[in-house]
């Protein structure tokens, strides 16, 4: 896969890492109105799935919650994939990791475990492999996606390499550990 040119990669590391870090306190002010409204309805149980810190990672903004048709605001055309299988709500969150860079999380809570299994299988094409995360998981360059119970979780890594991969795995394990066992 073609990578961006050297200057762009440098910007990606510096601009996204440093500038993004500096600007991160302003994230709530930039948040689209719909997401702000969604966060106002966050329930404590959902938000608790996203810990404040995990190892070298710290959460840099309040989780945003999306209910029902609000899911279009989070993933636009990806929403029906969840909605048609019994969707309850979703949370999004963002972390800065030292080392590991920027990592974003999306947690989808389905009405049933069968719903989450169907979503996961459809998204991944095949049942997930063994990774020690969740009941099944798919780990590819730049993303960890796993499923446990009614939950499907995606962990997106904005930087590549061993450090982001380790930070992402630590976050995935921490979130997995907070998902209620049925």
């Amino acid at each position: 896969m073609r990578r961006p040119p050297k200057a762009l990669r440098a910007f990606g590391l510096f601009g996204v890492g440093i500038v993004g870090f500096v600007l991160s306190p302003a994230v709530p002010a930039e948040t689209p109105p719909a997401a702000v409204a969604a966060s106002e309805t966050s329930d404590t149980a959902g938000a608790a799935l996203l810990p404040d810190t995990v190892g070298g990672c710290r959460r840099v903004a309040s989780p945003h919650r999306f209910n029902g048709d609000q899911l279009y605001q989070l993933i636009d055309g990806g929403a029906p994939q969840f909605l048609e299988k019994g969707f309850s709500w979703a949370l999004s969150g963002e972390y800065r990791c030292e080392p590991g860079g920027r990592i974003t999380i999306e947690i989808y809570r389905m009405e049933t475990a069968e719903g989450s299994r169907r979503v996961f299988t459809e998204r991944q094409g095949t049942p997930g492999g063994e990774s020690g995360i969740g009941e099944e998981a798919a780990v590819v360059a730049g993303q960890i996606e796993f499923r446990r119970g009614r939950f499907v979780v995606t962990v997106d890594l904005f930087d590549q390499g061993p450090a982001p991969a380790a930070a992402g795995r630590a976050l995935a394990l921490a979130i997995d550990g907070k998902i209620p066992r049925s």
Binding site: P4, V19, G20, E30, P32, A38, D69, Y72, Q73
Partner: protein
Amino acid sequence: MACDRRRFLECLGLVTAAGWAGPTVLAGPPNPASQVLKQSKPGSSERLSPHAVVKARGTDYAAATRQVIDRMGGMSQFVSRGSKVVIKPNVGWDKPFHFRANTHPEIVRAVIEMVLAAGPASVKVLDFPVEGQNAKSAFDVSGIGMVGMKKGVTAQPVFEPAGFRGISIPGAAVLKEALVIKEILDADVIINIPVAKSHFVTDYTGALKNWMGIIRDRGFFHTDPEKPPKSKQEHRQRVARCIVDIQQKIRPTLSILDASVAMLTGGPPGPGEQKTLNLVLASTDPVALDVVGIGLFPNLALQKIETVQYAAAAGLGLADPAKIPVVDCA
């Protein structure tokens, strides 16, 4: 890779019929297939169909972009001195760069440079990212915020309500009113730069679907709270109808497709299965461009993609692959 004069003339020999539409338009009627305008490329009296799709390949995406635009007669065919230009890439997603959910920045960079050389009054690179995404971050991680850092260019997301203006769409099937990015409405020239991706609802997102990004109230594309779609098929049809409705009111002057990497599955956010194609394609006919783009996806069936079928039925372009001239620089 080089597209020199000799190759240019050879390629033109492949082109069928008609002429060049030249700068198309906001809110104008569709160009009839019979419309013939002379291509005014210096040194050439050859003509291109307004439905022609020009393509170039290579790993230097900026060079490939210049090739296709040069083949179409140069950016001055579309951008007049003193005109207000809006460039509309897909910057919908605050996702890692390698997911390829957004238009490649080198293509946008090349377009900006060509537009600036044509002497416009203003150049704005705009998109309304998916609402729940971090809009400013989307411009950063995509690299498009950076390539827009040029004198005389503004590159930024539009997400504040004040950035949109209401329009009515007489004759629309579904989308009778919409809030549209104001700069789009005020522009003389709009350059649409989608990225070729799969899409869970519409199967394919390219030139037609990218136009959804100029609308604020996109939730209405998916559902009407008072009359929600009863099936997946109804949902697909509704989205496609809305996309065609807005295209009937506001049309790009030129569309350039980023097919450097096709997101075959997992769209629109990705990552999904990717296929490196190293292609850049362009046309003044967004329907024809989508037809050729869809042809790059072995897992898609053109006949099942409502956006293209509805747009062709509305007279917005050609959907018959056999009638679309494809001009290849190779």
